[in-house]
Symmetry: C2
DNA sequence: CATGATACATACTTTAGGGTAAGTACTTGT
DNA sequence: ACAAGTACTTACCCTAAAGTATGTATCATG
């Protein structure tokens, strides 16, 4: 989680967009590169950290926890750690995270329409 | 439109994500900072370039056309230029772009639920 | 006694996206 | 003759997000 410069225009614009545009607000939450994928994997049930890692082989560990932490910080997922060793940590969707599933579904529906040639894209 | 390095891992991962995850495919299309906002403004009807500019005062001209070109290139919007001087250019949603509106709506619905305290986020 | 599995952390580098500032071409209005 | 409005373009800079590489703690097992 990188430090942010409050003075930069990009941050001011971010502010503007967040106030003016609900969509941008959502993008802030699920815009990270691997976030939608993580959310998708959690939509099919709770997963351990290592399960997620194996499910998404292309992501690095740094990116995985970074996004998990952000999603947790944003209240979209819930982390549960059993105080055992070796560690046993599970992640699951919160109600807010579950509420995002219709968004994910709408996106997937559009993408599949594109794939099926209903729309001509790119 | 910046040149991209084909060799970079980020591009490889992009490929992976695009194939594996329909949501990421959508993000690619509407993930630009001002794209959702542009789409939103076009959802209420055709707009001239200058109208969009005035409607979104915080965006710079460079960003505005850059994103308009990308959206046009992706087939989400249609550009119509009348060969007159001063120029008269109109942008409107394509059918693919219109098909994205449910996604936008689902996002907005979620954002408003968060605002109304239905979910606890951040 | 050292290797593997668990779930991370941390220092450093790269890259893509976004922003700034300025210029272009053509015509109408003052 | 000069500013203003139209729709861009182009060269350069800066930053946030992504990636690389390596390290940590604890215990069980061969």
């Amino acid at each position: 989680m990188t430090a942010i410069k409050e003075s930069s225009t990009i941050q001011e614009n971010k502010q503007y967009a967040l106030e003016k545009c609900p969509v941008t607000f959502v993008m802030e939450k699920i815009g990270g590169y691997w976030k939608p994928i993580i959310l998708y994997h959690l939509s099919t049930g709770d997963k351990r950290y290592s399960e997620l890692k194996r499910a998404i082989p292309a992501v690095t560990e740094k990116m995985l926890i970074q996004h998990l932490k952000q999603l947790e910080g944003d209240g979209l997922i819930i982390r549960e750690a059993k105080p055992v060793v070796p560690p046993f940590v599970t992640y699951k969707l919160s109600s807010a995270g579950t509420g995002l599933l219709p968004v994910i579904d709408a996106m997937a529906a559009w993408a599949f329409k594109v794939k099926d040639g209903v729309y001509t894209v790119k």
